[in-house]
Amino acid sequence: MLSFRRIVRIAFSGVRYRLFRATITVAVIAIAMAFLMNILGESLIKKSVAEAARSRIEELHRTDTWIARLSVPRTPEEIIFDQAGRAPVAKTCLDFFSRLDYGRRRILSGSAESVQIFDLLQDAEKQESFFAALANMKAIRFPVGREEFVSFLASWPELKQQIRGVREKEQAAINRIEQARGERSILEALTRADGEFGQAIRDAGFELDDREAETLAAQARDIMDSQLIEDTINHTELRQAVAARKDLLPGDITVNIIWKMLRDADSSEWYLEQMAAAGLEVSGLDAGRVRHLAERRARARLLVKAELRTADTGGGLMGIGQRMTWLALVSMLVCVVGIANAMLMSVTERFREIATLKCLGALNTFIMTVFLIESSILGLAGGIAGTLIGLVICVVRMFFVFQSLLAHAFPWGSLGLGALISITAGILLAAVAAVYPSLRAARLAPMEAMRIE
């Protein structure tokens, strides 16, 4: 009937004609969308940073992992988890028990924990009472069928035997490692992971390729040297020297202050001299290396911080977390009410115009479309403005928290998608909010045009 362009033009004229009201409505939408975009953006950035941090932290802890592996055999649980494919039921059950709260676990399995539960349930009577107790817990669903679990329990002694075999083998290997390292600590021995100790590790039956050996050795050296520097905090003379240089009280000097100072080239050189003067063994160190260690520590701290700050990601809608999802929904609801109110006022104010248009032959659908489009225009404007504001705020804030880590893990794609979602949400909210007001407008009787105040 009427070209879309003309409808949009009439809707747009409506916006322009009531610019002040429109601006307020746009501001309401913008605030809600800024809020949405802000929490959406933060959760997306946190997610991305968390992923980046996780792999780096794993890298950072490689030495620790090896130290653990080379000093004690894995626990039965660890073996089950590492080889979940071999005993899927065992893994599922252990997962289940580990998530239970204390009271329920107590009822189900007494004082037994993890694999001990399997031992406990070998007894038929105990099994019976276990299932009875389970049936009473309405809110809890056992992840494995009863028959399956019973047959698994029957096979448990055999599996346990296998696990014991694995552990014995590991213990034997560990004994050989112990011989190889002699008087050295494992960490010290690992500094030679790219040499004779690496060979010993391989000989003992562990898998260690050349690249892994190199990074392991380098990391072990870093850790040892870092330890050396950190120990200087206990050296009174050095502490006094640092305090004098930094213009602080010796008692206020912390490891952090020393590390921060060492990131600077002059200071690291100076500190090495001080260490040598204090009679410490610094033959393996030079200023560049000290600075490298300081940088490494700064990175590690940032990673730990990132891990802490991203610990809450992943829950609820799009990783926002349940609480934030609620807040976002409430803010959107408030926004919808606000828009609806503004649109209703617009309809009330323009009754004569609407009625006149109907006298001129406008269909109800036309009137509705005009108001829906008018609201959508406001939604688009508010959505874009709010999304930009929210995005800027969240990126700036996140940049202060994660610094260089964010630069490497900036989630361009998902943030773009988030912005698109937020703008679309703005338009949709505005359109939804305008449904009732536009219906009211469409139902207005044309004879209202005759009314005279």
Binding site: E353, K358, G361, A449, M450
Partner: protein
């Protein structure tokens, strides 16, 4: 052909454009019933100029709403061009309002954010006229009411009389058969009112548009064919102008 018809105003054999049968309208506001119209029967002929008079609250506007298909009667029927308005769907009603009837309001009711030309072309757009064609016809209509030079003005930039003339041009947009005017001169001064009346009279004479005009304005008597008095929701009297003139002359 149409001009012939207007010449023989009093001829009996003429096409009826609007007919009402037992038309009543009651308003129910919070249980209180107002009988705005209490049974109106009238036939209005094509190309006739009718003036509707009556005291305030007598039901003139209600009468207009009903014969203009803006509202439906509580009882009785309204035929516009021999079509029962009650039988029409929403789309057909919109079509009727768009093509058959032009409305002129006391308060002009121009769309405030549109220029004079846009106001005039809006009903054409509803009627499906192409943009270029609408523009051309809109300019012609503005010329007809003497506002061609002001086509780009918005209502706020025009005087009341100019606005009313734009409103007349707009009412004529789709060549309606009937022009309904509810107190078109009530908000205008004497001189401007005369101008508007002159335009209406010219439309009636030259284009054969049926004009129905509610008014308190006694000058209207000079231009109309028939006069209709409404009092308390009922027709008090219908008379041809020459009859009334005689009476008035007698009084003078």
């Amino acid at each position: 052909m149409k001009e012939e018809q207007t010449v023989q105003t009093s001829a009996g054999e003429r096409r009826i454009i609007i007919r009402t049968i037992g038309m009543k309208k009651f308003y129910n506001r919070k249980g209180q019933i107002t009988q705005a119209l209490r049974g109106v029967d009238i036939a209005i002929f094509d190309a006739e100029f009718i003036t509707v008079m009556g005291p305030s609250g007598s039901g003139k506007s209600t009468f207009f709403n009903l014969i203009g298909a803006l509202d439906s009667p509580t009882h009785g029927r309204v035929f516009i061009d021999e079509v029962d308005v009650a039988q029409l769907t929403a789309e057909e009603l919109a079509f009727l309002r768009c093509r058959k009837i032009g409305y002129i309001f006391q308060s002009y009711n121009l769309i405030p954010y549109m220029t004079a030309l846009e106001n005039v072309t809006t009903p054409m757009a509803f009627g499906g006229v192409q943009t270029d064609e609408a523009r051309k016809r809109g300019m012609d209509l503005l010329e007809l009411v003497g506002l061609k030079e002001r086509w780009f003005h918005r209502p706020i930039e025009m005087s009341g009389g100019q606005q009313q003339r734009v409103a007349i041009a707009r009412a004529l947009a789709n060549n309606p058969t009937v022009l309904l005017c509810d107190e078109p001169t009530a908000n205008l001064d004497h001189h401007t009112g005369d101008e508007i009346l002159a335009i209406l009279q010219r439309l009636n004479k030259e284009r054969g548009v049926t004009i129905i005009c509610a008014t308190h304005d006694h000058r209207m008597m000079n231009v109309c064919d028939r006069l209709l008095w409404i009092r308390d929701g009922a027709i008090e009297r219908i008379a041809r102008r020459d009859e009334v003139k005689v009476e008035l002359g007698g009084i003078d």
